[in-house]
């Protein structure tokens, strides 16, 4: 009766039903508790509960996936527009008279001090001669980003022969213009309730009719630092800060964590102290990250006197935070190396160090790397401890070294999410996309590293 339990439906046609040749005919099968109607009912019940169990698991997965998809759809739909930037094409005449340039051969310093805003004002006035009122003219110039004069200045500094020539240039538009073009500001809303005036909309429509408004890929978003003007604000500083911090954290926490795990797992004699250390490490892994921030503030900034809001302090704090994770993961990886390998190495006369370095660590490395990258990913997304060490500051400059003040991606997201301008909303989402891409890159790196090292069996 081997087939009954598995597939009762197939039983009637099963060849097992045919009596074996030579078997005494008509001999009754002895009764069994596995062949009654009750048994069939039990089987059905068990099969039903098995199906339920599976369905519950599938439902849990689907729910989780649905949340992830919802998150991604929401963030991408809100953030993708920040990767393009509305620009206006203006015919700029680099006129020495408008610039009030007097010297015949101006030095770079003199060129840098000129009033380039007047060039834009002049260009727009020529385009819209009917605008004469002071207030209206200010609104007209307001269509262009306040960063545009600096672009003109840089052009002139790069090539002083531009003076006297006329160029058709794409200049970044103001964030409100950007929002109108992207549809985030509704024209149907009464004028008093929106940040852009009816007059400005008319001018914009005229510019658009002349194909002078276009969306361009927003390179500045990745290269420039933070700014009070949304159209000028970029992630450059945060990206550089995050990279500095992450590299330093990795350089500090991986060797420390692996060395600690190696000592605890391979060398330390079993003792009460070891148990105590193990409990302490496990508890440290569960300590809220803001506590590590406080520790960093007290120890590294107040006591040691390291520079505030620097990637150096951030990475020290994040090292403290990720160390327990790395130690635990590395110990688990070391423990999973079969003992027979250690014995084999010791048996041919390898020293403890040779055994560990030549045989145990190569086998444990994929696990160690995975643990480390998980820890790094956590560190990358960490915000709370950074707030405690002063990284929440508004910083325009991109940090040049690990001791300069910097901001990091999650902190930048936090800062932008706090800003009132409509254009910062899409930038916040875009920054989240960048952070997620960063995380995915790190995770794929983990997968690649794992596979590379596992190919060595």
């Amino acid at each position: 009766m081997t087939s009954r339990g598995r597939s009762p439906s197939r039983l009637p046609s099963a060849p097992h039903a045919v009596p074996a040749p030579g078997a005494p005919a008509g001999r009754s099968v002895p009764p069994s508790p596995h062949r009654s109607a009750l048994a069939a009912a039990r089987t059905r019940r068990r099969q039903r509960s098995e199906r339920w169990f599976r369905a519950c698991g599938a439902a849990a997965i689907s729910l989780g996936l649905a949340f992830v998809v919802a998150l991604f759809v929401s963030i991408i739909s809100q953030g993708h527009s920040a990767f393009t930037q509305t620009q206006l094409r203006l015919d700029i005449e680099f006129s020495p008279t408008v610039l009030e340039l007097t010297a015949a051969n101006p030095s770079a310093e003199e060129l840098g001090k000129l009033d380039y805003l007047s060039l834009i004002r002049e260009s727009l006035t020529r385009k819209f001669p009917e605008v004469t009122d002071r207030k209206e003219r200010r609104e007209l110039v307001g269509l262009v980003s306040s960063g545009a004069p600096f672009v003109l200045r840089d052009l002139v500094l790069q090539d002083p022969t531009l003076i006297g020539q006329t160029r058709s240039l794409w200049l970044v538009a103001d964030d409100d213009v950007d929002m109108v073009v992207k549809g985030a500001i509704d024209r149907a809303v009464p004028e008093a309730e929106r940040r852009i005036k009816d007059r400005q909309l008319v001018w914009l429509d005229r510019l658009a009719a002349e194909h002078r408004i276009e969306g361009h890929f927003n390179w500045a978003f990745f290269t420039s630092g933070d700014s009070r003007e949304p159209e000028l604000a970029g992630l450059g500083g945060a990206l550089v800060g995050s990279v500095y911090t992450l590299l330093l954290t990795l350089a500090l926490s991986f060797p420390l964590g692996v060395a600690a795990a190696l000592y605890l797992e391979e060398f330390a004699p079993k003792s009460r102290w070891l148990d105590l250390i193990e409990v302490a490490i496990n508890n440290l892994a569960a300590v809220p990250s803001i506590v590590f921030g406080l520790l960093g503030l007290a120890l590294f900034i107040n006591f040691v006197g390291l520079p505030r809001s620097s990637p150096l302090v951030a990475s020290l704090v994040l090292t403290l935070m990720t160390l327990p994770t790395i130690i635990i993961a590395s110990r688990a990886a070391l423990r999973s190396v079969p003992n027979s390998i250690r014995q084999a190495a010791l048996g041919v006369g390898a020293s403890k160090r040779q055994t560990v370095l030549h045989h145990v660590v190569p086998l444990a490395l994929p696990g160690m790397l995975t643990g480390t990258i998980v820890g790094m990913a956590r560190a990358l997304g960490e915000t709370a401890p950074l707030l405690m060490i002063g990284m929440v500051a508004f910083l325009v400059d991109i940090p040049g070294s690990v001791t300069e003040p910097a901001t990091l991606l999650p902190v930048q997201i936090f800062l932008w999410a706090d800003s009132p301008e409509r254009a910062f909303a899409e930038r916040t989402s875009a920054a989240i996309i960048v952070l997620l891409v960063f995380l995915m890159l790190m995770n794929s790196l983990a997968v690649i590293l794992r596979q590379r090292f596992e190919q060595r069996w």
């Binding site: 004699p269 079993k270 079969p338 027979s340 390998i341 250690r342 014995q343 084999a344 190495a345 010791l346 048996g347 041919v348 006369g349 390898a350 020293s351 040779q354 030549h358 045989h359 086998l363 060595r456 069996w457």
Partner: protein
């Protein structure tokens, strides 16, 4: 057969101290009976003194009064046993009798076990194996080991064999290494089977081949003694036969101590057999003698398959 009765006046036998070889004073019987109280009672009980001659002339390893404790539990009781040079000594006995523990004392592998304490006197050609100042790495180079489960390194066949000689500095150049690898694999009877795939992982071989690779790895270090801890227990009969043949061949150049659960194997490959029971060495003697004329009742019972 090289088994001889002990003669204290034997010169040049490599024995370090005459004192350690003299019969020890009887241990107080009270301590012994107290020790055995934690053990399950098996009748008949193990004798207080080993039956047969535990010492041999020209021994490679001598051990005197070796006791092992795992924490509070005593695993070996004052074992005196010599491992004769260029012969195979089989250690047999039921599971948990201490034969593997004794084997691991000989190259200090017990050091790696937490809570394991070894006392007594073990000498490898006069070298005090138990000395705290002894470099165990040097010792393990001289006393190689083959384990129960084939445990090749997860590296190529070539690297498996070359690893030991490399770390001990026995080979310097690539041709030297090639030659040693070939010689070791040939001695282990594996070269013909693997010569075309020396770069293949050691773990890709069959179980029997893996075990012979482990033997090749052990002999590549050019040890004086090879300890084998149930080397065939994970192998099929054909692979077992090959390994047994190999052990017999290796006897010409190496001193071998082998732990085995198979009486037939002990009878086939060994020249001397020591029967352990519950941490005591019950009986030891030439293999033929032990299997034909066991003296102690425990030995008789075990060899006839009454327990074990």
């Amino acid at each position: 057969m090289q088994v001889m009765t002990f003669n204290p006046a034997q010169p040049g036998s490599g024995e370090p101290e005459v004192e350690t070889l003299a019969p020890r004073p009887e241990p107080p019987p009270s301590s012994l009976s107290r020790q055995s109280q934690s053990m399950p009672r098996v009748t008949p009980v193990a004798p207080e003194r080993t039956i047969g001659e535990p010492r041999v002339r020209n021994a490679a390893i001598t051990s005197r009064a070796v006791s092992v404790h795992y924490g509070a539990k005593r695993a070996l009781f004052d074992i005196d046993l010599d491992i004769g040079r260029f012969e195979v000594t089989a250690l047999i006995g039921p599971s948990g009798c201490g034969k593997s523990t004794f084997l691991r004392c000989l190259n200090r592998m017990n050091d790696t076990i937490d809570g394991c304490r070894v006392t007594g006197d073990i000498r490898l050609d006069g070298l005090d194996v138990m000395s705290p100042s002894l470099d165990v790495i040097q010792l393990r180079a001289r006393v190689g080991m083959v384990f129960q489960k084939p445990n090749p390194f997860p590296k190529s066949i070539y690297d498996n064999v070359a690893y030991g000689p490399r770390i001990h500095g026995l080979v310097r150049t690539k041709p030297e290494t090639d030659e040693l690898v070939e010689r070791s694999l040939t001695r282990a009877g594996l070269f013909e089977e693997v010569k075309d795939r020396l770069k293949a992982p050691g773990t890709s071989l069959s179980g029997g081949q893996q075990q012979r690779l482990c033997i090749a790895r052990a002999i590549a270090v050019e040890p004086e003694v090879i300890l084998m801890d149930e080397p065939c227990s994970a192998l099929d009969p054909i692979a077992t036969a090959k390994v047994e043949q190999l052990i017999d061949d290796l006897r010409k150049n190496y001193t071998i101590a082998i732990v085995t659960h198979s009486m037939q194997q002990a009878a086939r490959v060994s020249q001397r057999t020591a029967y352990f029971h519950l941490g005591r060495l019950v009986e030891v003697g030439p293999t033929g003698h032990i299997f034909r004329n066991p003296e102690h009742q425990l030995t008789v019972d075990y060899i006839t398959g009454r327990f074990g």
